[in-house]
Symmetry: C2
DNA sequence: AAGAATTATATGAAAATTCATGTTTTCTGG
DNA sequence: CCAGAAAACATGAATTTTCATATAATTCTT
């Protein structure tokens, strides 16, 4: 199978890496996300719960990074989850600015069920996809993520030519 | 590098396929998306433009699938883009229900610039990532997408046991 | 060919998200 | 120790998104 990105007749979108990543993510998540919703959680809430099973008691900013949710948005989500009894918030005794988030017993029970479901779903998906445990695709994705997070400076630039930028800017 | 998903001590999230896909998608897109915003478009608008460079004149529903945007949301986005002169909408002469969406000359100019930028960005990213043209990772992603879209029925179920479902449902 | 069903898009209200900024607490240099 | 800077969260208004459903046009059924 060859890359068709340079063929002028080939469509752009279906061969564009960023599209393929987004589409793969969506397609892979669709079923489980709808399962999550049947359990009464929205996807960002599920993400928070899953992260807390790993790092219970983390502060809002940490959680935001871990769950890929913007901070002010996460704050609002956490407040709702607190109101629903899924998590509690305690300010850090050491640093009064920090708010640490914990799963409640009820929240933990739900989170652990969903994580178990997620593991099962993942296993079946990987088995049916390529028969393996997914270490190949996972390693590739991890490498990509590491690569992208690594070189902050001089990341693959969008436009290296100032002249071109100017031309673009006033169109 | 081995898969650590079964190690009970290993964190769940960073080894979870759905997380890795979402994180890779986000990380890979971040820079280009911010470029898109500097050009005055939001990401969903960019997606619409990119899709239209492939399939100008497609109907709203087609575009929604292609751009991975829910229909009613897309309708609103398109109305805004129409107001800004980026696209036009014409009802299909053959089937009055259908609304076909076209890039305006201005929209096309911007779209083509951004597609060129996207191609350039992608090339640099792939070169700096693994030195190649990305056909490996792309093929994997395409295969995954195909696999997921293929088996609608009996997709890797979240829970195959009705008993377990019931237990989950009333917790 | 009429009525029912289906398809395509639009719409409205509720809810979520974004973005800029406010508040509080801690850190830092002098 | 103090002033100013920085860090961590919270908040509010504007905008977007969602979800259910309305409207309109076509197709199917009998």
């Amino acid at each position: 199978m060859s890359n068709t990105i340079d063929d002028p007749k080939a469509p752009f979108v279906p061969n564009y890496l960023l599209y393929l990543l987004a589409a793969a993510s969506e397609a892979a998540s669709a079923r489980f996300h709808s399962h999550v919703r049947t359990r009464g959680l929205r996807v960002p809430e599920w993400r928070v719960m899953a992260c807390l099973t790993d790092t219970d008691g983390s502060m809002v900013t940490e959680l935001a990074r871990y769950a890929m949710i913007e901070q002010s948005r996460l704050t609002k989500i956490i407040i709702q989850m607190d109101a629903r009894g899924l998590v509690t918030r305690r300010s850090d005794p050491t640093d009064g600015r920090r708010v640490r988030v914990f799963l409640t017993p009820q929240g933990r029970a739900l989170a652990e069920e969903l994580v178990a479901d997620a593991r099962a779903h993942e296993l079946e998906l990987l088995k049916s996809f390529q028969g393996g445990d997914g270490s190949e695709i996972k390693d590739t994705l991890r490498a990509l993520i590491r690569h992208l997070e690594a070189d902050q400076p001089n990341q693959p630039g969008i436009s290296d030519s100032p002249a071109r930028d100017a031309a673009i800017a006033d169109s």
